[in-house]
Symmetry: none
Subunit: 150 residues, 2 copies
Amino acid sequence: MITSFAGESRHFLDEKSRLSIPAKFRRWLSGDDAEYTFVVTKGSDPCLVAYPYTEWDIRAENLLKLDHFKKKNRAFVRAWSRNSIRLKCDKQGRVLIPQFLLEFAGIKKEVVIIGVLNYLEIWDPDTLDQHAESKIPLDDDYFEDLSNIL
Amino acid sequence: MITSFAGESRHFLDEKSRLSIPAKFRRWLSGDDAEYTFVVTKGSDPCLVAYPYTEWDIRAENLLKLDHFKKKNRAFVRAWSRNSIRLKCDKQGRVLIPQFLLEFAGIKKEVVIIGVLNYLEIWDPDTLDQHAESKIPLDDDYFEDLSNIL
DNA sequence: GAATTTTCCCCACCTCTACCCACAATTATA
DNA sequence: TATAATTGTGGGTAGAGGTGGGGAAAATTC
């Protein structure tokens, strides 16, 4: 069994741009570790993604194996790494998300946090609505592929 | 778990050409060691690279294994070694980077410091933009290869 | 050996972070 | 249902971090 997130919740950035991580997610993110450390980065969709630190670390270890004499690899690792921010909740369970990440996701005040299996997604509500509206067509072929794994 | 750098931050050289190493990177660079010693050298890209001393040492050990009867190897090791400068932060967490290294990276006043897993990169912002813009094409084939390790 | 330059320690200042406390709202428990 | 515990949010404040600059010590040059 994997540690998995589920559900969503709605929050607000406070005056100081701090974001409360919902308590249930917070515990999942950090495991039993009381440090509440995790990694936030840009998602493939216009949202932010938060990994438990252990998840991120596995990826980092793998990227270390890439041949750094190849320019492509250096470029990829650089891009991947510079957007990944290691965050720690304060004693109230809040984190300060860097401005450039908030801007990337178009987050102003209101925020939707979605648990997606082994990571969290952090969305601006409007962006999320639009994104969901532009319904990606899930056709028969797609479900046929899915049926192999579900 | 590895000590790994992530994220980036922006700094300025002060009047005396001193560069503040961001506190979070500083701690990672030097491990538990309070001496804040690390090694800076020319990167493979037009930037400077800073290794924790232990990381640099591993590389040095590996280079020792090269066959020194081969001219190419001697030339490479010589170039690599003469550009590697051991630096120590002052009590304010700043280092004085030699002029020839600043020139190599085209650094004038503003600086971007990027954490890349097991080392730091130090860039001139404009150079970095151009370098990122000249997007090394990361095509589908590339990501297909990547998916094996991520 | 004197003069100049370079390096590095120290102090000062301001900003930003993260701790602390507070409290309302919600959820859990008796 | 009443009470207690947890959670989300607000805001004050101490301290850490980044930057600037004076001046002593060390190194270099003349």
